[in-house]
């Protein structure tokens, strides 16, 4: 009932001994995620919290423990390098939580991901992570607001995703998988990529896409939706009230001086693609329920 992660996912945590890494690793393990190793260079051979083996390198976590997904809680100056290390170790799914990575570092990461030799997909950076409710939680989202089900959720935001998921859960609609793709201008998985994965997933019946002002990720997704998506789909764009030329918290959330990336343009693209639009953020689940009843 999911995309990308499930109960068989074998997770390695990069930066496991840091404050954020330790806290969230515990939370994810409590949720049921299989954390099979951690990476903290120089601490290889030790055990984290007397339970999880620590490796010096990501490659070691693959060869010794069979890691097939990694999550990164490394500070911004070193996070891009951590992603590149996971790409070189051929980890199929890399999730980077870190916020504040220089955009040029992310441009390098994108080039590495685009190489034909790359075997990796990146989610993030600057994102809450990914969760398949009841099976596997990778990231910092609160587990209990989710409920297993058949709605796929993709979003550029963190807490706004929780808001939407909570509305779904309270309305009795469970989720197949929820992905936070992150608020940075250059990221790994796009809105379009995630929508396509949900569209092709037999266990996802309906989709929610939450966007923000800035860039054209939602417009690109809408081109795909218009042509290929027959599943019920609803969406919301945050930032309709934001002024031009100011970055609203997320590095990617900015309406350019020339007026590109506005909420209006995105709502228009969604309307044209047949996406049911939530007129305000408290109506996201309601918007989906106009065309899908679970």
């Amino acid at each position: 009932m999911s995309i990308l992660v499930n109960k068989d996912t074998r997770l390695v945590v990069q930066g496991i001994t840091g404050k954020a890494g330790t806290f969230h690793t515990q939370q994810c393990m409590d949720y049921g995620t299989q954390v099979i190793a951690g990476v903290t260079p120089g601490k290889g051979g030790q055990l984290w919290e007397n339970s999880v083996p620590i490796c010096n390198t990501v490659k070691e976590s693959v060869s010794e423990y069979g890691a097939n997904a990694s999550v990164i809680y490394v500070p911004p100056p070193f996070a891009a390098d951590s992603i590149l290390e996971s790409i070189e170790a051929e980890i199929p799914l890399i999730i980077c939580i870190t916020e504040g990575i220089p955009i040029r570092d992310m441009a390098e990461v994108r080039h590495a991901l685009n190489k034909s030799t790359s075997k990796s997909r990146l989610i993030g950076p600057n994102c809450p992570g990914i969760i398949t409710p009841g099976e596997c939680k990778i990231g910092i989202m609160p587990g209990y607001i989710h409920k297993p089900g058949r709605v796929g959720v993709v979003s550029r935001s963190g807490t706004l995703t929780y808001e939407a998921v909570w509305q779904l859960t309270q309305s009795g609609l469970g989720q197949s998988t929820c992905i936070g793709i992150g608020g940075d201008p250059i990221n790994g998985t796009s809105q379009k990529d995630a929508v396509q994965l949900f569209n092709e997933d037999p266990d996802t019946d309906a989709i929610i896409m939450i966007g923000e002002i800035g860039g054209n990720a939602e417009e690109e997704a809408c081109k795909y939706i218009k042509e290929f998506v027959k599943k019920p789909i609803a969406g919301f764009i945050a930032g309709a009230s934001a002024p031009k030329g100011r970055t609203m918290g997320h590095a990617g959330a900015i309406i350019s001086e020339s007026g590109g990336g506005t909420a209006e343009a995105k709502f228009e693209a969604m309307e044209d693609a047949g996406v049911k639009i939530a007129l305000n953020p408290s109506k996201i689940a309601d918007a989906l329920m106009t065309c899908y009843s679970g």
Binding site: P77, I103, T159, E163, A238, S241, G249, H250, A263, S282
Partner: protein, 395 residues
């Protein structure tokens, strides 16, 4: 992060990009010495230094016209400079209150033959550096792109290979350069590319790049901005920050790691998470209110940060009500509630406060608010919260 034109020109000069000789000044003594050391018998340009475009066509709040002036004598230059210094300049980008001019820039005048446009930026879709050039410089490039898109030259550069001589040549030919100009253009473009990549610039824009009557190319104006996330790599660039150009409330917020942006309305909001903060502004607006600010307290706000946030939003005299919207995930609602109570008592709150809490430990959080004795309105959903605060403020 934005910098001033004179700082940008100094950087360009370091990267071998030809700029008119110029000197900055912040007071009368510096103005005298700048004019003297430029020692120009002919024309001199006086340019007000603020972080906003459209200075030439701007108007000062006292009615004085133009933030960029051509002066035909040293005495005229001094008179003009003193007229601008300390005066507030309003341009199409500053808003009606304008920006106080605290620095002036004196440059040699240039005998302009033609104005071109040249800029470098990082394209978020392709993650590549893109060079944008046009024969139509000195005007608003967005207008050129809209009316005559065929006059915009776009070349993207593969990061692994970098800027090559053939890129420079092909752009130079398209701009109509010939002979020595092609080499001059290559030097300029290479310098800009090097500055752009080495210093983690977000954008480098030369508008206009001019050819003078002798055919020489020179960067007449320059706008350079940097990736705030990369400033730790470049202490020399970080030092160029001018907090005079920022809203004092935003400067204070940044010291507490709060993400605050001042807006025009009267309903202040305090939210965790950037997306939810924008969505909260949107819903206030959809209920007929106007947000006074964007404020993201982040994922792990402490009591100290919440208190600082309250102080900052209340220092805006327009604020007539506050909406707190927290979706506690990892951050627990009871801890946030304690922070709100202590902060509200600390700053002796005098405007209506609506608090919407959801998420981890929400019941404990709500109990703390209820038992605090604070005059606040609890709300169970985002819609309800927006409804209550807009009602209270419009009364």
């Amino acid at each position: 992060m934005n910098i001033h034109e004179y700082q940008a020109k100094d950087l360009l000069d370091q990267y071998k990009v030809a700029v008119p000789r110029g000197i900055s000044a912040c007071n009368e003594a510096e103005i005298d010495s700048a004019i003297k050391s430029l020692n120009s018998s002919d024309l001199l340009v006086v340019k007000a230094q603020i972080h906003a475009g459209g200075r030439g066509k701007g108007t000062f709040t006292d009615g004085y016209q133009g933030g960029v002036k051509l002066c035909d004598s040293p005495s005229k230059a001094k008179e003009t400079a003193l007229r601008m210094l300390g005066n507030d300049l309003v341009t199409k980008q500053t808003g009606p209150q304008g920006r106080k001019v605290q620095t002036l820039y004196f440059t040699e005048a240039c005998d302009i033959d033609h104005e071109y446009y040249l800029a470098l930026l990082l394209d978020r879709e392709s993650a590549k550096t893109v060079i944008i050039a046009s024969t139509e410089g000195g005007v608003d490039i967005e207008t050129v792109a809209e009316n005559t898109p065929e006059k915009i030259i776009r070349v993207s550069i593969d990061a692994d290979l970098g800027l090559k001589p053939h890129h420079c040549r092909s752009i130079a030919f398209k701009l109509g350069f010939s002979g020595a100009q092609i080499k001059e253009f290559s030097v300029i473009l290479n310098g800009l590319y090097k500055l752009f990549t080495e210093k983690n610039a977000e954008m480098v824009e030369i508008n206009p790049l001019v050819s003078d009557k002798k055919g020489s190319l020179i960067a007449l104006d320059a706008k350079v901005s940097f990736d705030g996330n990369a400033l730790y790599k470049h202490p020399d660039i970080a030092r160029l920050r001018d907090t005079n150009e920022e809203d004092p409330k935003e400067v204070e917020a940044s010291q507490f790691n709060l993400n605050y942006i001042a807006l025009e309305g009267n309903i202040a909001c305090m939210v965790n998470g950037a997306g939810l903060a924008m969505a909260t502004m949107d819903i206030i607006k959809s209920y007929g209110g106007e947000p006074a600010n964007f404020l993201d307290v982040g994922g792990g706000a402490t009591e100290e940060q919440v208190t600082a946030a309250f102080k900052i939003i209340l220092s805006d005299p327009n604020v007539k009500g506050i909406l707190v919207n927290i979706f506690g995930g990892i951050m627990q609602c009871d801890i946030i509630a304690k922070g709100i109570v202590s902060a509200a008592k600390n700053v002796s709150l005098s405007v209506p406060l609506v608090v919407r809490l959801e998420g981890t430990n929400v019941d404990a959080g709500k109990a703390i608010l209820r038992e605090s004795g604070l005059e606040l309105s609890p709300a169970d959903s985002l819609a309800e919260a927006a409804q209550i605060i807009t009602d209270k403020v419009s009364k």
